[in-house]
Amino acid sequence: MDSARWQKIQSLFHQATDFPEAEQRIFLESRCAGDPALLSEIMILLEEDARGASLLDGDIAQAAHHILNEPAVAPPPFKEFGPYRIQRALGEGGMGVVYLAERADLLDRGVQEAQSLNAEPEVQTDLYETLGTIYQKLGKLDQANTLLNFSLEERKSLYGSDAAQVAKSMVALGLLRDDQAQLPEAERIVREGLAMSKRHLPPNHPAVAKATSALGKVLEDRGSYDEAIKTLDEAVRLQSTKGAATPELAVSLFELANTHFYAGHYDVSESINERLLPMYRRIYGERHPRVADVLINLGAIKFDLGYYPEAEKYDRQALEIVQAWYGKDNPETASDLTLLARALIREDHYDEAVDLLQQSLAIKERVYGKVHPTVASTLNELGSAALLQHKNEVAEQNFLRMVEIYRQVYGEHHYLFAVALSNLGSVYSSREEWPQAEKIYRQVIPIFSESQSANHINTGVARIKLGRTLLRQNRFADAEAESRAGYEILIKQMDPKVSGLTNARKDLAEEYDALKQPEPAAKFRAETAALDSKDSNSTKK
């Protein structure tokens, strides 16, 4: 949309708000004659204005508190450098620790060797850059920073501050900043490096292509997907040759596929990943983790689109590779076990899913200890699977552990603690232990309200669940208050066909029947019927 149109939309929006709701459309129809799109856009704004339930209506302090206190996902372990396999730094067990010590020895020796190469400065700068990149892959970003800066400074003194070799260092440093999540700085440095390399090299030189690709990656990480796509398309164009595909081309394509995925262009992402698969197989071999990465991406696309058998197929292939490469005890393996299990749960293959989740749990407990949020997230999957199988005792154990972990890590006012409790409440509901379930939901609702918001989805779900426990105890008036409040919160944010909302409508119909209010009872029944008939007309995935 351009600014002129936005101006027009706003002007009409504000004029419309002067009218009562019932008259707004009439007013707008007269002012938007001949432009139905304009009318529609303004009506959407008026709807949102009336809702008043978005992130911006809440408190940034709460959002900030969550972001800054949420644990990061497990840091991406490096995969390989050269011909060596990498074990995770935190891995226990004698072999794992000794193995990593050997890495450090080798690198320290490498740095010493580099420092002794003063007589061959060009080689020295190359070695600094290589070592720096290796440290980066090992997750030792401070050492990487030191070495990449050595390389940059030396190249400046050898070649002057504006030279192709200096550009190369800038691109490497920019990619390090990207890993350090210093994104504006990363973009600035990479842009400068790219411009510098273009000044000194022909436009289709590999170093120019590599710098272009690096910029694309940084833009992707900044979320500037449109520009990232343009940039990566350009890198791919430069790196595509008549001969066999190079690793550099494969890297650019990989980033391009990811960018399309994040931008929601599933078809494009899928076709690029499908192109990448044989490429990686040829370049790295069939059993290489990079091949697994592509398979996981394909699985993620299928999962997001709801094609669970296909997701399972890809996840399984990826898991085989990762397990063989890293071993059964590696967090990479644990991660892939969970991904495969999630697909299996969607297909109701509970036994295998549970087995995989238990393996994943064992690895995570060994690596992170028994009280870690990533362990809790696997417990959540296990608890949920158990509930779906009506194994209430197992579910209870898993959710209780999850509650305890979040209590210890985050305290009793954190929304994750409330989520765990709320899921535990599902067990009591499943056993029809209504007073216990009620107690839990009354505990969690204020936590959600305060730590997230009174209109948060979690608050809404908890109120609906509370409503149901009250309904089953025949406290109809109290039940209606909670069910209705929860429903109003969720219906504004969720797809009405979601089964939880369908069940909420059934609860409400029952409650209104009991309260002798036939009209709202009929209304909720009618809504359910209308959505049911829409469903039977639409094709299933």
Binding site: S377, H414, V498
Partner: protein
Amino acid sequence: MRRGDPSATLNPTALVNEAWMKMAKSPEIAPTSRLHFKRIAARAMRQILIEAARRRNAGKRGGGQNVTVRFDDSYQKAPSCGEELLRLDRALDELARMNPRQTTLVESRFFGGLDIPETATLLDVSEATVLRDWRAAKAWLAHELREAS
């Protein structure tokens, strides 16, 4: 293992004042300079939070911590705070293309905690303008967030 402090709240105004106290050499700061500082701080806060959210989202898809409150009989994935902030960031970039002043307004109010009079002074417009622009921007951004989820 990192522990969050569940009882601490991150009040943007408190943070900004604290930083201001540290940075300012003298307590006698002109109101416009203070606002200018708040504006920069709001921008910085946006960047810090977005980068933190992005960092949380980096790493392998699906291996993270999507724990949600379950309905008794189905899975519902609620967007995490991080994901919503990332979507907001993108939507704000889009808004900046249409109306840069309005984006500054949203940043200052949402990330920086500036109130209406402060925002009006900062942008050199009337309070009525601030209220109108805020209302329209909020509605548009809310729709963008909903569409993206």
